[in-house]
Point group: C2
Chain length 474, copies 2
């Protein structure tokens, strides 16, 4: 054991603490379980059940110099929630209550361990929904989504998680409890602590309660798929639709190889071609909007633009949502390296996709591309034999080149998965040294002992550099 | 002279520095020009023309312990941009270029001194507009709007300024230049420095360039006014419309006395009754949305719901936009005390308006109420004889009581005007001591010498408490 964590039993009682190997090991890797997603096994796992529990653990850990890494569903892809330095894994899945629903204000109060789709379940009877849920909404928690500022298929119309968080209660590293934001829909009172906490990946505070904004379920929802002769046509069509102001609620791009993988995994019969999945939300005029979109797609040589009934739409969205799983299982030998995403200004969407595909062709590798194309967001990976170092090296090279290209095009190294351990090396390239230094100053200000999720986000916080006491033994 | 500011001539050359009394005095008060809005006369005024100029001044001032207060159009209402400690007033109005328009990406790059409506002028030819402009968009700068996280009549549909800022370049207190945010429409890369800078009122950095997002001008724009028997009916109607999900682009409440003042000031003939001004934006089905709104208004006993042609709408919005001026000039003896705003959850809108009006009646005072009601936002003031201390005291009492009530109802002490000097005393009541301490830690982290706009936002930063060197003489 690295850090002495016996004090946790005093904080929480035995039922909410484990020093057992299986509990500890299950908190050492995230869903990617690759190099970025595999951390150090924590010395203990705690399951707080209240804000007071979170505060008690943090205060005691901070006093003792013991790292605390918040964890929930473990569905991150960049190692965001796995320990870099052992210490305590704080599992928030037992704080999973819906606390209050206020339909008149379009608001819901939840604890961090509530699953994404449970929010929709709690409010759909009121005719409301939570628009920014990621594709993984059924298997990931709102706390994790807030920590990574997640977004999803409907972000193109409705925005990202940050846009739907009104107020947060969070515990800072020293155990103090802050409230950030307001239940009023707008405020210019003081610094925007709320937006600073959203996307800070548990390095600045642990969210213990969130007030989320909701939206009325639109009266008209229709969707379908459009098949294009080439991936470039599909990308140009998405760009043109967005540029032309088509009011689309989802506009996803799926390349031919990803469609094939989805067919293999789910038994669907998507055509072997690049395509977009689209959905339109409106109270009036949804058909006019679809017609508008069709006109634009036709100018990009769309082969078929087929509207689907509700059941067929569900199947399409399931295929899209489960692409990540499909990639993992498609080939027994070739596995996706670094399943991640970049985002660029929408005018550069065709360019970044062309670039990724050309790199794949150049190196004779399969590089599946899909994603929330309407936001300029591209998910890509390279299929490699993980036992072949040369293969992995080529995959790494493609991965890095696409990230660097996205930044060069005015984009970001991570659209929705956060920085964690996987994207640390790009932070300075994207933001510049002075901006990263400003971020680091904020970290030092709110967590001077580097207690919360140490080692994440910042490039030079390599192992052994924590300012505080190191583990008592190894 | 307080601080020795001769060094400024070396930084910028003589043409961009003034030590003259009239320049200095014109930078000592904002538009409210009341107790909150009247600061200390600065020792010098500078007009930087580039990021390098801003950086040079800040680096030199920070080294010397001289305060720098950013200033632009001077249209704040809470003293946000007037010096608390003399030193340098940094006037950004000469940095007023539109740098780039990228219609394909719905983006524009501007310098901070660009006037709000100049943004619309620059992009309307592309069929685009900048939705979150405040009513004062024609007389205030984008830099000031960003500093206060302003919002406006269309915020109910489109959100506030922060929602439309993609990327900022800003100079920190030590002269370092940071880039915050991304030109990609979504990112989860690093801490959200951008949202921290927006609304920080020039206390954390000076914005020198902003990339703003734009929206397509809707194909259908229609509006009108609805007259109600009582103010309570009008407020309940607004609440019901918002709760019911009416897709309204503007929904403003104006009470009878405010309408009378507008008539006096502008020569309009608004009826002597409480009313709402509404506007609907859509590409399809605007008439159906108007009909939906009418049904709801009818259930609240609306007397007349009259659609207006374009010319008549322009007159209505002019009346609404210029209410602040109308209040100032309506009575030669009675002047508005603390023209400010609060915002509450929409379900509490009727309650906060009733409360303000009841206080006015109780004290026999005129308390005009109007505002962006669809956001739960209320502008209110008390008309007082400023030469009568008892009258002023009653006005203060009403002002404070409404702010405290708004906070009690889950709202905020300032919806869109920032904290400045006028709302400092409510920061802790609204956010709690630990949250305010966290904000203060952020201020110390980015501006350890308290150079940038010292004395603002935080309640206990009273005069004489700056940690750095005090003025050389007084």
């Amino acid at each position: 054991m690295g850090y002495d964590c016996e004090f946790l039993t005093d904080c929480l009682g035995e039922g909410n603490v484990s020093f057992g190997e299986s509990a500890r090991e299950s908190h050492a890797a995230d869903w990617a379980a690759d190099e970025a997603g595999t951390g150090v096994t924590p010395d203990a796992v705690v399951w707080p059940e209240s804000t007071d529990d979170v505060s008690a653990v943090l205060e005691a850990a901070n006093d003792r110099g013991v790292p605390v890494t918040p964890y929930a569903a473990g569905t991150s892809l960049e190692g965001n929630a796995v320990p870099e330095y052992a210490g305590i894994s704080m599992d928030l899945t037992r704080m999973n209550d819906v606390l209050d629903v206020r339909p008149d204000d379009f608001q819901i109060d939840v604890q961090p361990g509530v699953m994404g789709t449970a929010i929709d379940d709690a409010v759909s009877g009121e005719g409301l929904f939570f628009p920014p849920l990621p594709s993984s909404g059924g298997i990931s928690t709102i706390g994790g989504m807030i920590a990574n500022d997640a977004s999803g298929m409907q972000t193109v119309k409705y925005g990202e998680i940050a846009d739907w968080v009104l107020e947060l209660e969070a515990v800072l590293a020293d155990g103090s409890v802050v409230t950030a934001g307001s239940k009023a829909v707008k405020t210019s009172s003081g610094y925007n602590l709320k937006e600073l906490l959203v996307g800070s990946e548990g390095t600045l505070g642990v969210v213990t309660r969130a007030t989320l904004e909701l939206e009325g379920i639109p009266q008209q929802i229709r969707g379908g798929r459009a098949i294009f002769p080439t991936l470039d046509d599909a990308a140009e069509a998405v760009f043109d639709a967005v540029r032309s102001g088509v009011d689309v609620a989802k506009i996803e791009l799926v390349d031919a190889i990803s469609a094939e993988m989805a067919n293999d995994y789910l038994g669907t019969d998507l055509p072997d071609a690049p395509m977009t999945f689209v959905e339109f939300h409106a109270n009036h005029g949804v058909q006019e909007e679809i017609d508008f979109c069709r006109t634009i797609f036709e100018s990009h040589d769309v082969e078929r633009f087929e509207l689907a009934d509700e059941e067929a739409m569900d199947e399409l969205w399931k295929a899209r949502s489960e692409l990540a799983f499909a990639l993992q299982t498609w080939d027994p030998d070739l596995k996706p390296l670094h399943p991640g995403d970049v985002t660029v200004p929408i005018s550069e969407l065709p360019a970044i996709i062309r670039y990724a595909k050309e790199l794949g062709a150049e190196h004779d590798k399969i590089v599946p591309c899909f994603g929330h194309a309407g936001d300029g967001n591209v998910h890509y990976t390279t299929l490699v034999d993980r036992d072949d170092p040369d293969d992995v090296a080529v995959g790494e090279q493609i991965y890095e080149a696409v990230v660097e290209k996205a930044i060069e095009l005015g984009g970001t190294c991570t659209g929705e998965h956060g920085v964690g351990r996987g994207k640390r090396q790009y932070l300075e390239l994207e933001h510049g040294a002075d901006s990263v230094e400003a971020m680091r100053a904020l970290k030092r200000a709110l967590d001077p002992r580097d207690t919360l999720n140490p080692g994440k986000i910042f490039p030079e916080t390599a192992k052994g550099e924590r300012v505080q006491a190191e583990p008592t033994d190894d």
